[in-house]
Symmetry: C2
Subunit: 441 residues, 2 copies
């Protein structure tokens, strides 16, 4: 399906729904004359929009893939990991009230649902009138199918904090006990400007322009209510979240996420990913916790290490990704199996041993990370790494594994954690509702 | 075709060719024991590598696309513009001699030809032994087809300058008369750290991981001989260079490059893109000049301008991209046609008027730019824009148009040129040669 203007007011499935007046003001910025006051523009749908990618590699099947925004869980978690990412964290602006925060979430919901379906933001969209108002959609996704776009929202610990002693949103008492800032891990080298945030949005798509378009338009809708704190593009997924996907490689050249939770394991997903009603708080049931870590890789140093060392560090072969204890990629590792001088073939400091559920009380996470390269630093080294994202039923799952890794992982010689954030991800939104409504109920 | 180890020494088409000892040292860095001294590793080709993208959107057709590296012109110029870009500029390190520079170009040629064909760098590649040496290829492109990878090399003006009064490479006298730094244009706001360079490499592919892999491995091969000066990823092409491609949109939401030179116009390409033998110098015949400009877009301000203003700025409709004088996307604009109050429908300051060949003595350029978003700035504005690349027979073509734009373009209110570079792009390399050999002949 190709992108068409949103036709909310004539769509029987969503009668009367549209952006709030404040949301429309956000789109209009300082020059608000005329917007929302009538149908002044050409409402004929943009005809015959062309789909890019004919010579580009975006297969028609995946380009036209659409995941519904509304549902019992948010999309973008167990959804088969799309190829590209734009992630953004926001801070709610000073002076914003509870009602205004709710209105922002309502506006974001409407816009996210529209974009997920391949529609423009706003009643008039990107390219038709009113000509004396800013377009409601920025337009760079015109003609592009959603390419599997998912938009996933989260709430950071600071959203639940008082500001100048005031419970500004009336939700201080509803903060999940688990939603506290992550502990400081050994070797953490965090940049405040790449960490934390009151709100987050993860936009994933097989077309990066579609993911960028989503974050840009949601940022714009938030104008005056929430401001971008930090953001990150990821050019290639490093995890599979479905058995239908091949395992991708990280920038160390190794397959990553072989043992990841897969959507096809519903019992594991239930056990490890979704917050249950019993876990509490009730408003978060059906949701999850999102951990984001910006992990800078010192790839130049890594590239000078010998192959034997590289494989020892991961505990897997670099080619097929088999455990060093033998077998093929998906063979279970044998951590006891010893080789020369009775040393275990998978060393005590090997990444895959330390991260393995058997070494962490059975803990798993659903990983959804992306490779990134953001230019280079002043020394001519590529600013490259892994933007790690994981979803889990409790932040403790991440903390358990990360403490183990931060202390012992042989990989630490080659990586630095430079950004960190934790968000509570509410359950999915029923059609007609808004994301996180249960928090304010 | 999927990626396999390079088998130079057993490949009759390339007898005995391989990286120089210095190139191999670059790969090995400080720990060089054993490398290049024998066949110590497993030479069995990595069997059954899986191709990513089965669930990801990379159609088999474009993923498996292979453009030959060797030819009369360099690939990556009239090649149909691929979706993703990694561009890098390098400075040759102090103390490097003419012979060492030539050796670097030879090593780059061999590696670029291998990667363009979907092969690893080096005789042993990424994942087989020798186990006591660093892998010759970094490995993150294992299992990925080249997805139309092209690698294009250029020489900057500074390569032809003396260092401390010494003609270090013996090429000062061979500098093309046209290869002088671009003039300062009105409103230029250039960052040295994003400008210029002795050498450049443009890597384009429909798979960003493949483009990143190319730049990374070529940077690595250059270790000790040339260092990365700046680099830029582009996530989406903004130009079509073939009539088979749909016109993409820039981050202002407009179709870009509608009137671009297309590969299917060989006379125009010959006239506007390739340096002729008569143009001089002889070593550059069959080559071109590459201009790169990092153009930051103030998208937040743009997004608040009204649709009428946006269309007036470009001189085209935002929807189908038709000239404001009427017609459809590919209609010729009528710059004289007047509307209300006898004002021309395409205004005097409209971008498309000022950039049009008829307003620039018939000058055209082959544009090959990319959209970028590099996170956000401290004010929460997306660090977004257009990484403009153009190829032309003479830098004067760019300078003519850019002077016109810099002085008058209505778009200037919304953009800033923050990076700039010019490179002479030598002709293509015959099989068995190396890129730029004519310069040193």
């Amino acid at each position: 399906m190709t992108r068409a203007k949103r036709t909310a007011s004539t769509d029987p499935a969503s009668p009367g729904r549209g952006l709030s007046r404040r949301g429309l003001l956000g789109l209009a910025g300082a020059s608000v004359a005329g917007i929302g006051l009538g149908v002044a523009g050409d409402r004929v749908a943009l005809a015959a929009t062309t789909t890019l990618g004919s010579g580009s590699g975006a297969g028609a099947a995946s380009a036209s893939m659409v995941y519904p925004f509304y549902g019992s869980h948010q999309a973008g978690i167990v959804t088969p990991a799309q190829d590209r990412l734009h992630f953004a964290a926001f801070d709610v602006s000073a002076g914003v009230t509870r009602a205004e925060l709710i209105e922002l979430l309502q506006d974001w919901t409407i816009a996210a649902a529209a974009m997920s379906a391949g529609r423009d933001v706003g009643e008039y969209g990107a390219v038709s009138g009113p000509y004396d108002a800013p377009p409601q959609d920025t337009g760079e996704a015109q003609g592009l199918p959603p390419a599997g776009l998912t938009i996933t929202f989260g709430f950071g610990p600071t959203l639940f904090e008082t500001a100048d002693g005031v419970d500004r949103f009336g939700i201080v008492g509803r903060r999940p006990a688990d939603l506290t800032p992550l502990p400081h891990f050994p070797r953490d080298d965090l940049d405040d400007g790449r960490s934390d945030g009151d709100l987050c949005i993860q936009a994933c798509s097989n077309d990066p322009q579609v993911a960028v378009h989503a974050i840009r338009n949601l940022s714009r809708i938030a104008f005056g209510r929430a401001a971008l704190r930090w953001s990150q593009l990821g050019f290639g997924r490093t995890s599979s979240t479905s058995t239908s996907q091949a395992t991708p490689r990280n920038l160390f050249g190794f397959k990553d996420g072989t043992a990841n939770i897969k959507a096809e394991e519903p019992d594991v997903v239930t056990d490890q990913v979704w917050v249950s009603a019993a876990d509490g708080p009730a408003w978060l049931a059906g949701g999850s916790y999102l951990v984001a870590r910006r992990i800078r890789m010192t790839i130049e140093t890594w590239d000078r290490s010998i192959l034997r060392e590289q494989e020892a560090v991961f505990g897997r072969t670099k080619g097929v990704g088999a455990p060093l204890s033998g077998g093929t990629e998906f063979s279970e590792p044998d951590f006891a199996l010893a080789g020369r001088e009775d040393q275990p073939l998978i060393g005590a400091a090997a990444h895959m041993r330390l991260a393995h559920p058997t070494q962490n009380h059975g803990t798993k996470m659903l990983r959804r990370g992306y490779n990134f390269v953001d230019g280079n630093d002043d020394l001519g080294r590529l600013e490259a790494g892994l933007f790690f994202i994981s979803f889990q039923r409790s932040p403790t799952q991440f903390t358990t594994v990360q403490l183990n890794l931060a202390k012992h992982d042989a990989l630490n010689e080659y990586i630095r954690h430079v950004g960190s954030a934790l968000f509570a991800v509410p359950a999915g939104t029923p059609d007609g509702g808004y994301v996180g409504a249960a928090l304010f109920a």
